[in-house]
Every structure is written in C-alpha cells, then in structure tokens.
C-alpha cells in the first residue's frame, strides 16, 4: 500500500528508492507477522482447553449467530425470542448490536460457498483472533498517519499482544468488543486520514466504518463524542481548516443517518444526549466555516464590524437554542442519559441507584494493579509518547492525545473500558518507543560515521563518498519522513504547508544536539529492548495463564495431576436431554444465556438485564423461604430451579456469594426483602451465627441440601471456610433431580401442587384462619 506513495514523491536517487521499496517489503512482512502473532497468541485457550465458546455473553452471541445462519437475515431482524425472559420474551433483532453476528454469519456463508465445512461454532471461536489481527493492522495505519511507519509498526506489535485486549479477544471469546475494537481503531484511522488528506472518499469510508462500529458495540458513543471534542479542540486552538470540515461534517450527517439504520440505535441516534455533542459541534463548525469564509471576502476592518454584529445576534440565538435543548433534555426522566452512560460521568451513580449495574464486576472501577496487569510497561511509556506527540503537535497527534486522555478517564470509571484505553496506550507507547529507537540508533550511526571518518583519515584512504553517506542518509531519511507527512498538506494548501514545515525545519535543526553519547545510547537501547522483552513475557503469560480459561470448564492442578471440573456442561447437557423442551428453568441471571444456548431451555431472566423487576422477582424468590419461593416460581410456570454451589470443591463465584446481590436487587423492588435480615451485625455469614432468614432462604436450602452427608456430618463449606449453620433439613416444595459430579450445579424440580394438598383437605376447613395469612404472603408474590 505504501509503495505507490513512495513512488509518487519527488525523484530520489535510484539506490534510495530501491532501499525504500525494500523497506516497504520488510514492513509488509512485519505486518504479516504481526497479524500471525495477534492471531496465534490468542490460541492458548484452544490449545490448553478446547475450541469452545467462553463465558456468558459469547454464548448468547453464538446462539444468535446460529439462528442467523439457520434462518437468514430477515428472520433474524424479526426474531422474537420466546425462550428467554419468560413470560415476556425478548425481541432479539431490535435489541442486539448485530455487527458481530453479521460478521461471523458472513464469514460462515463465504466459507460455505467455498464448500469449506467449518461449523458455526468454529467460525465464532476464531472470529475474535482474526479481528485482533485486523485491529493490529488498523493500529499500524492510524499510528503511521500520526508518526510514520516506524511508530506504526511498533504500535501494531504492542497492540497485537496487549493483555487488556487479549482478555476480550482470546479464541472463543466471541463478544462484541472483539470486533468493535477493530472498528474503533479503523474509524479513528479513517478520520485522521481524512484530516490529513481532506479527501471526501476517505470521509465516506469513515462514515461507513463508523456505521460498522455502531453495528458492533454500544461504545460507538465514545467515537461520536471524541471526534467532536477533537474538532472543537482544533477550532479553539485555531487549527480550523477545510480538511477538518471535510473530516467532520460528512461523518455527522452520513454517520447519523447510517446509525439510525441499526434497529437497536434507531432514533436514539438523534434523540439521546450522548449524540447531542456531535450536533452542537456540527453547528459550531458551520459557524466557524462561515466566519472564515466571510473573513476571506471582507477587509479586516469590515470583518471586525461584522463579527461584533454576528456575535451579539448569535449569542441570543445560542441562548435560545440552549434553552430549548435543556428543556428537551430535562423533560426526559433520566435527563436523556442511559444508566451506563450516567455512571460514566458520575462513577458513583451506578452503585447508588442501579444495583444491577453495580453487581457486575466488570462495571466496577479498576484497581491500580489492574492497570499494570492489563497494560504492563505501556503504562510507563505513555507519558513519553505524549511528549513525542507534542513535538511537533499536528492535528493527528493532538487527536491521539485527546483519545488517550479521554480513555484514561473512562477506564478509571469502569474496568471494562480499559479495553478502549489499550489501543491509545499502544499508539502512544509505539510512538515513544519508535522515537527512542530513532534517537539511539541515530546517535550510534553518528558515532560510527564519525569513527569511520576518523579511521579513513587515519589510513589515508580515498573514499570521500563513504564517510558522508551515513550521515547524509540519516538526514535524507528525516527529510523523507517530513515530506511524507507534509505531502497531503502540500496538496491542499500551501499556507498549511508552510505552517507545518516551519516546525519540522526547526525540529531538524533541533535534532542535531539530540545525539547522545554512544555508551549511553547502547545502554539505553539495551534497556529499551529489555523493557520490550518484559512486555512480551508478561503478555504471553497473560494470554496463556490469566485470560485463556473459558470459565465453563475449570481445571485445577493437584499433586495427582490435572483435575477437570466440567460440571456446568454436565448440568446443561442433562437439562437439554432429560427435561421437556418447553420446561422453564429459573436461575440467577448469570446463567441465563448459557442455559438457553447450551441446554436450549426457556429461562426467566438472563444476562441481558433489561427488566429489573423480573430479575428482582427471581432474586426475591431465591431469598424467600421455601413456600413463598415455590409460589413465585409456580406463578412463573417454572419447573426447574438451578443453583450453582461451590462449597464442595471451593469454587468461589457461586450463588451463595452472589446472594446478597439477589437480596439487594429483590429488595429494591419488593420491599419486604430487607438486606439487614440476612446479615448478622452487618456481616454476611452462613454458619451457626447466621440469621434465621438467611438459613431459611431458598438459596441456602437448595445449596446445602444434604451437603452435610458428604463429609460425615461436618458440612464444611470450602469457599466460606466454615461449617454451615443448618445441617439437617428437608425440602418440602422442591425435589433434587440432578446434581453434578462435583456438586457445582444443582437442579431442583418444583413438586407438583397436589402432593401438598393431599391429606390436608380435612384440616383446611378448620384452618381457615391460617389460610388468611397465607393469602397475605401471596400478596407478596409480585405476580398476584
């Protein structure tokens, strides 16, 4: 791609064109290898475990993809899924970001048309690694636009193995982010490219890339806020140009129109506050464009008069517009902001108001170690990259700086958004490393050329061309790079060209004293390579150990070898083969997606937490005593209840540990569930000190039913590291129908109603008084 660009530049000596052609071939192969690296480093999960879909959300995406490949695109748009959120159901076509699904579906179709018999699952598993390679290439393109090929290649290598991105894109992690990060970087690249060239072609491509991003991930709002911010920054700092206008205006118009095509976004693209900034800046850029235009045709004096006139009128108009906007925004209940977006602005918002968002670990603010874990040495290289971006500051580098700053803020709010920070950090670090290498190698070259000069004069050799050439070449190199950067600007406006060339000339003159002593450069070079080595080692470790576990299969190493805990799939397989097709399974929402995808059974709630009341109902049932729970479940037509229990093998993320969230979420809607009832002196415990409400809750009973018989009467819970409080009890309304090999999943069946009534018919007359309070409990059931 870069070859024709080089050929277009001014005629250079044939030797150097050859050298650059060679350099481009090397760059091409390096890029190819980076792609291979990005792909293969993500295969640890397949090698260590198996080719399987990971975690929770990917299972839903996989299921949607299966539906798409089976029924086609039109059925997909109209898909009403009745196997989830029973009895409400869910409109899938209108509530998912279809980018990932459509991508994988298309790949599968193409493979099928070539008669390559890959299953949908295989395609889904390997979509994320493939797109990581694409993302690395997009990073190369973006950084190349900012700081040249060297920085581009370094940034691409860094991105190919940045742990933060690996955590979301290992093989099998079939999630929106896998595709979206590529789309994000590529959109930014096209924006910068348009900004540098002023080409409408790239502007159109940019809108299409933005459309793909909107299709893929809710994070597209990041783009549609960041780019206006950058435009505003450019305008404020006096960097307005027609290129900026071309880069921005088509994106807003075309991009918004295209975004509105995606069903899940629809009119939100113009109705919600997340998009208002872009429209505001759209107006501003037009005003500025008009001002510049008028400035061009008027004399400076006239312009001043006109400016005062316009500003005074404009202020009035602006006030009116702002007032209208505020009124519109204020009229909507959430002030036009969705819960997740609000929690971005105010990090404490979610934990205060929306327990269901706060209950997800990836929505928590990150800890400091997680920065080191996910970015490693990049965290230290970023400041250097920022400095490098300021020398000289261009439109492109200012955008990268802005991107970094914003993503650092957002990553501080939500762990999940570390993913957005990772490319920015990679770009910055790539620039920093590349600049550092540049300085060190130049110093060394300078030293070597001096040395050879010295030697040649010593030996009295007569080859004057030689001793000059390395230095010259270095200079030529620099010149070349600069011309490369300037080329687009020259094409458009000579004014601009002069502006930029001046600092570059200055930098050239400044670069001279940047030559370091050779020992220092060698040492620094060594240290930089060492730093890179650390990064590689850490990334490979993270990919192999930390982020490859599929979470549905657990393994543990003990003295007698590897133990595999495959209980989740055991339970799901049992459900899918040994229950009726239309049976409803209730579980906490974490397992909803997996149950529908693996067991193909209808669930009450799932990981798409769109209906808080429904989730609260299940939370209430789990925290109620057996009988009340039975009534709630029965009213929901539930036949089986699934709980996850880690007490036997020490699996910590089980339902007992999540139980307080069920209480909180349930209590948030049904006030008779009170969190303090489940806590003893503010402490959550399940031992003999636990409160009776806790010990009688359905979750406790279903988790520990006959648990005491496993270790001869002690009932020692290995997660909570304590003996359980209530050891011997019977279930009256539920019946254990299946427990997996390591007891991690336990499935209970609701006993049919008639079994309870039988034999009580005589008493029912005499106990009419006792039935009235029962109706009181029935009232608590939200479904009555």
């Amino acid at each position: 791609m870069a070859v024709p660009v080089d050929n277009l530049t001014k005629p250079t000596p044939p030797s150097s064109t050859l050298r650059f052609a060679f350099g481009n071939v090397i760059a091409f192969f390096i890029l190819l290898l980076i792609g291979v690296l990005a792909f293969s480093i993500r295969l640890f999960s397949v090698i260590k475990y198996e080719s399987v879909i990971h975690e929770f959300d990917p299972y839903f995406n996989y299921r949607v993809t299966q539906f798409l490949t089976k029924n086609g695109i039109y059925d997909f748009w109209n898909w009403f899924d009745d196997r989830t959120w029973y009895p409400l159901g869910r409109v899938i076509g209108g509530t998912v970001y279809p980018g990932l699904t459509l991508t994988a579906g298309t790949i599968w179709e193409v493979l099928q048309s070539l008669n390559i018999p890959l299953s949908v699952e295989t395609v889904c598993v390997f979509t994320a690694p493939v797109f990581s390679a694409f993302a690395a290439w997009a990073t190369y393109l973006l950084t190349k636009e900012v700081k040249g090929t060297g920085a581009g290649l370094t940034a691409a290598v860094l991105l190919a193995m940045v742990p933060s991105y690996i955590s979301r894109s290992v093989a099998g992690s079939y999630d929106n982010e896998a595709v979206a990060i590529f789309a994000l970087i590529f959109t930014f690249y096209l924006y910068i490219k348009t900004l540098n060239t002023g080409s409408l072609f790239y502007a159109t491509l940019n809108s299409i890339a933005y459309f793909y991003m909107v299709c893929s991930w809710g994070g597209y709002t990041f783009i549609i806020n960041l780019i206006p911010m950058h435009v505003l920054l450019c305008i404020v700092t006096g960097r307005y140009s027609s290129r900026l206008y071309i880069a921005y205006a088509p994106l807003v118009v075309l991009g918004t129109l295209l975004a509105a095509l995606v069903p899940v976004v629809g009119f939100n693209a113009v109705m919600t506050s997340e998009h208002f900034a872009s429209f505001l800046v759209f107006i501003v850029i037009h005003v500025v464009a008009l001002a510049y235009y008028i400035k061009g045709i008027l004399s400076p004096k006239m312009f001043k008069v006109a400016a005062t006139l316009v500003v005074s009128v404009g202020l009035v108009v602006c006030c009116a517009v702002v007032a209208i906007l505020l009124a519109v925004v204020a009229s909507s209940p959430t002030k036009g902001w969705s819960g997740r977006s609000l929690s971005l602005l105010d990090p404490t918002y979610a934990s205060k108001y929306i327990p269901i968002i706060a209950s997800v670990s990836e929505h928590q603010p990150p800890t400091w170690p997680s920065y080191f874990m996910d970015l490693n040495v990049l965290a230290f290289l970023v400041p250097a990259g920022i400095i490098a971006c300021f020398a000289p500051l261009s439109d492109a580098s200012s955008f990268v700086i802005l991107y970094l700053v914003m993503s650092v803020y957002f990553s501080g709010v939500m762990v999940r958004l570390m993913l957005v920070l990772a490319p920015a950090a990679c770009i910055m670090s790539g620039i920093a490393l590349s600049e550092a290498f540049d300085v060190f190698t130049r110093s060394i070259k300078f030293y070597i050329s001096n040395l050879s000069e010295f030697l040649q004069t010593d030996a009295g050799d007569t080859l004057p061309g030689n001793n000059v050439s390395p230095q010259n070449e270095v200079l030529k190199n620099e010149k070349k790079e600069d011309t490369l950067k300037e080329r687009p600007s020259r094409k458009n406006k000579k004014k601009e060209k002069e502006n930029i060339e001046k600092p570059s000339v200055k930098s050239k003159t400044e670069k001279r004293p940047l030559v370091l002593p050779v020992e220092a450069s060698f040492f620094a070079l060594f240290l930089t390579v060492l730093l890179g080595g650390f990064y590689v080692v850490h990334s490979v470790w993270a990919a192999a150990e930390a982020y490859s576990a599929p979470s549905i299969v657990l393994t543990s190493h003990s003295h007698d070898g590897l133990h595999v805990f495959d209980d989740f799939r055991e339970a799901y397989a049992w459900l899918s083969h040994n229950t009726e097709v239309d049976d409803k399974v209730a579980s906490w929402w974490d397992y909803g997606y997996q149950t529908t995808a693996m067991a193909n059974r209808t669930v009450i709630v799932d990981n798409n937490t769109w209906n808080n009341t429904h989730i609260a109902t299940v939370g209430t049932a789990m925290s109620s005593p057996e009988k009340a729970a039975w009534e709630i479940f029965n009213s929901l037509d539930v036949k089986y209840v699934l709980v996850v229990f880690g007490g036997l093998v020490g699996y910590p993320s089980d339902d007992i540990n999540k139980f307080l969230w069920m209480v909180r979420i349930g209590g948030g809607v049904f006030p008779h569930i009170k969190e303090p009832d489940y806590l003893r002196d503010g402490q959550y415990r399940i031992d003999s000190q636990a409160t009776p409400t806790m010990l009688n809750s359905l979750m406790y009973k279903l988790s520990y039913f006959r648990f005491v018989e496993t270790d001869g009467g002690k009932g020692y819970d290995r997660v909570r590291r304590t003996e359980i409080g209530k050891k011997y009890f019977k279930l009256t309304h539920f019946e254990e129908v299946f427990t997996t090999h390591h007891w991690m999943v336990r499935i209970y069946k609701l006993k049919p109603q008639k079994n309870r009534i039988r034999g009580k018919t005589k008493k029912s007359k005499s106990k009419t008084s006792s039935t009235t309070p029962r109706s009181g409990t029935v009232k608590k059931n939200p479904w009555h």
């Binding site: 799939r569 055991e570 049992w574 496993t710």
Partner: protein, 524 residues
C-alpha cells in the same frame, strides 16, 4: 401339544394372553426327521482383527450365499409347499437362552431327520410374531463330523416365503448344503439374537431400587416339525429370580432355569413362560447412529460417529440424589451406567469425544497393536430413560482399510456396526464418503441393508463426493463384520484441488500485476 388342547397341562397364566399363542396342530402325520446339529459361535467376541482375518471367509461366504440362494430358489419352485410337508422330524433339540445382557442370545441345537420319501433341501424354523419382530440376526451352520473333528459349515438362512404359520408365526428357512435324503439326518446349530425382548417390570423404579425385567417365551420350542426330545435352558444374570413359570419338569439351579426334557411334542406346540428376574446390566441402546466414513486418498480415513444414546431399562422416577449415588454405589443406581467401552481399530489416531456443547473430558484411550479401546463416560450417569448425545471421531491410516482389488478397483474394507460393546442400535446409517472423482461405487455387505446414494461437498469440491449410504435397523454387536465398498478412482483427481488453488492465486497475482501497471485515472 398345547395348553389349549390340554394334551399337556401347561400352566395357563394370565400373562399368556398377551402373546396368546393358541396352537393349532396341523399335521400329526409322521414327519421325516432330519437331525440338525448346532453350530454355536461366540458372536459377541468378534473383534475387528478377527473380522479382518475372516474377510476372505466372508467374501467366500457371500459367493456361497449366492449359490445357495439360487439353489434355494430352484428347490422352492420345485416343491413350493412340499418342503414343509416334507416329513422332517426333529430328534433332539436343545435351546440355550442367555439373558445376561439386554441383548438376548439364543443357541438352538437341532438334529433333523428326514422320514419322508423325497429329499429335503430346507429346514424351517418358526418364531412367534413378537420374537420375529425383534429378531436382529439369525445364523445357522451344519455340524459335520463327530465330537473330536467337529467342523462347521455356515448355512444360508433367510425369511421363508411360506405363508405364515398359525397365529402369525414367521418362518425362516435354512438351506442345507446337500439335500437330505430319506432316512438321513443332519445336525444344525442355529444362533439368533433377540433385542428389546426384556420388559422392565416395574416400569418405573427409584434410584435405590434394582431393575427387574420380564422375559416371555415358550417352554416348548416352536417348530413346524414334531420334536422328539427337547430341553430349554435359560441363563439369568444373577440368582435373583423373582418368579418363573413352571412347566414340569422345570428346575432352577443357581443362574440357570431348565425346562424339560419334554418328549414327543407335536408341531407348533407352545407353552408360554414368563421369567421375572433382576437384570442390572446396562440397557444401552443407541437410538440412532450416523457414521460418516470419509476416505481421503491423502492418507487417512476419517470416521465420525454421531450417537443418540438412551438407557432403555426401567424408567427412573423421583429425584436423583448425588450424595447417595456417590456414597453407596452398590445400592444406589445399580441399574444405571457410566462407562462404555468403544472398540476401535488398531493404529487409530486423533480420537475425539465430544457433544454439541464441547469436549467431554471423561474418556481414556488405550491403543494397541491388535485393537484400541476407548473408554468413555457420558457427561452424567445414565439412569433409566435418560438420554445423551455425543460424537466420537477418529482417523485410521488409509493402508489399513483401503485396498486395491485385482481388477484395478479400490475397495474400502471396514466394520459395519456400532463399536460400543454390548449395545443395541435401533437404526444405523453408514455414510461412506468416497473421494471426489470416484465412480461406480458398489457395495458388498453380508446381510441385507438399505442403500442410497448421495453427494456431499467438502473442502473446495466442485462436482461433489459420491456418498454411499447404508441403512439398517436393529443392529447388534454381531453385525460388527466387515463390508466392502468398491469404486473406480483415478489418481489424477487428487490433484484437482491443489491445481485449482494454485491457479486461483496465479490469476490473482496476474490481476494485481495488471492493475499496478495500468493507468486508469481519468485525469492525466
């Protein structure tokens, strides 16, 4: 003799009504007796390598089959019903019924004598309709020589085209090697396999209960001929026999129930018996097995087997308690099963065992020179009525299974049935995917199968691969014999796909070259 006529005081149990095999003694004329002697092969132990050795035997046998069937055709046309009226008589008959697993194996030793005037070429066997429906396999052999120098000659057995006997009794006719002359006698060994003839009773059991089953049969061997002397021995898996119908003289000796000896029973005598006993052996039934056998001339045979397994015994009722299952394995869930043994060919490689949600981690593979054994566990123990689906796949070096015949054809020589030990397959579908470009497939299978042709497309195929689909119902381990698929194949077809790929890339590069060297800009 029958209980209706009352010649013998056969117990008239209410169970009998179901089978209701009311006798009609047709002819009491003296029958020519041909003494058959019994050939009993332990069919369950047919291993693949043995089968391979026996391959030639089967080829020979299939030719023999042809000859015999032709022969039988002639003999039948000459004496259509006369063969049944041929006056045969069974001198001694001994029947051993093995009820150890859910697949019932019966060995019948007959000594047949011809008392008639004309020579007899066929011997008829009669089965009650219920048994005939579940008859998976029947084999017969003529025993020649005395005790020391016994030699077995396999005989052809096929459903007889005679009209059904009384009460819908089905006939199978055994074609003798040589027509039996007047006064001559012959010993025949008949072995047959019955499936799904054990009826769980009670139909539903709890986890802690053992599995009891009913077996229905007749104390007397159903035969169109008069039987002079007969005994029936029923072997049960354990001594726990709840009850059995007594038809004097009948005795129980540990795991054996002995009926008889009974003397001089007329033809079509029937005396229903019922054995109620404990059988905790795995009732593993594969409802459907689809095997894809894909031949690649690049050196490997890939087999993919899709199973739908079900525990076909007494249905499980009530809850399943893991704590009981784990702590009291001898009492709790005795009728359930966890392990299955899959017998694979030797030198098997890249074996996998998974289902549609991923790999199943509980399996062990032992490879050896003569055979490979794969021990698999379903994801969960199978209690009565529980189902599981899974896929087993493996590769075999092509030289072990693909050969070239004398006339230049290639043929695949592979085992037909289900490789899981002691498993009944309700329906098996063997799909032999031949390489692209192969022609004229023909199949040699030692028993009757349904055959279809399909085309499948895989890895860059253009014309598609011919697929030979062989379907059979009611398949038992005894069907694990080799079958052959012959086809024509030209080695050049192997090169089609690599050539196609290279040419695609070539044209891609040429196009790129042309694009770079062309100037297609509007402005100059």
């Amino acid at each position: 003799m029958s209980y209706v006529v009352g010649a013998c005081g056969g117990p008239n149990k209410p169970f009998c009504k179901k089978e209701g095999f009311v006798h009609c003694s047709l002819r009491t004329s003296s029958l020519t007796i041909i003494v058959l002697h019994i050939f009993f092969r332990r069919l369950g132990s047919i291993l693949s390598e043995k089968a391979r050795l026996n391959m030639e035997v089967f080829v020979a046998r299939s030719r023999l089959t042809l000859i015999f069937s032709l022969f039988a055709l002639f003999s039948l046309s000459s004496s259509s019903l006369s063969s049944s009226t041929t006056e045969l008589q069974i001198l001694t008959a001994e029947r051993r019924i093995d009820l150890a697993s859910h697949i019932i194996r019966v060995v019948l030793t007959l000594k047949v004598q011809n008392d008639g005037t004309s020579a007899a070429s066929d011997v008829l066997l009669a089965f009650p309709p219920a048994q005939a429906k579940h008859l998976a396999l029947i084999q017969a052999a003529e025993v020649a020589g005395k005790k020391r120098k016994k030699s077995l000659h396999p005989l052809d057995v096929k459903p007889s085209n005679h009209a059904d006997g009384p009460n819908g009794a089905k006939f199978y006719s055994i074609s003798l090697r040589n027509p039996l002359g007047t006064g001559g006698s012959v010993s025949i060994d008949v072995s047959y396999v019955l499936t799904q003839s054990l009826e769980p009773f009670p139909v539903e059991i709890r986890q802690s209960e053992p599995q009891l089953v009913l077996y229905r049969d007749s104390a007397l061997i159903l035969s169109p001929y008069e039987i002079k002397q007969q005994t029936t021995v029923i072997r049960t898996p354990s001594t726990k026999v709840e009850s059995f119908t007594r038809v004097e003289p009948s005795t129980q000796l540990r795991t054996e129930l002995k009926y008889g000896p009974y003397e001089d029973q007329p033809s079509f005598s029937y005396s229903p018996i019922l054995v109620h006993f404990e059988n905790n052996n795995p009732f593993a039934v594969v409802e459907e097995l689809v095997r894809e056998i894909e031949i690649s001339h690049w050196g490997s045979l890939q087999v993919t087997e899709h199973y739908t397994l079900v525990h076909n015994g007494a249905r499980h009722k009530g809850g399943f308690s893991r704590v009981e299952y784990q702590s009291r394995p001898t009492i709790s869930g005795v009728a359930s099963f966890k392990h299955l043994l899959v017998k694979l060919p030797p030198r098997v490689h890249s074996v996998y065992y998974r289902d549609n949600i991923g790999n199943i981690s509980t399996s062990h593979l032992r490879t050896g020179y003569s055979k490979s054994e794969l021990e698999i566990e379903p994801r969960y123990p199978l209690l009565g009525g529980w189902k599981a689906t899974f896929v087993i796949g493996y590769g075999i070096p092509l030289e072990d299974v693909l050969f070239e015949s004398d006339d230049g054809k290639r043929y695949l020589n592979f085992s037909f049935g289900c490789p899981i030990a002691e498993t009944l397959v309700n329906k098996i579908t063997n799909k032999v995917v031949l390489p692209e470009g192969s022609k004229n497939p023909s199949v040699v299978v030692p028993f009757s199968v349904e055959r279809r042709a399909e085309t499948s497309y895989s890895y860059l195929d253009i014309v598609g691969r011919p697929v030979v689909v062989l379907e059979k119902e009611n398949v038992v381990p005894e069907h694990n014999v080799l079958f052959q698929v012959y086809y024509d194949f030209h080695p050049m077809s192997m090169l089609a796909e690599p050539l196609m790929l290279t040419s695609v890339f070539f044209f891609l590069f040429v196009a790129a070259l042309a694009y770079i060297h062309m100037d297609i800009s509007i402005r100059k």
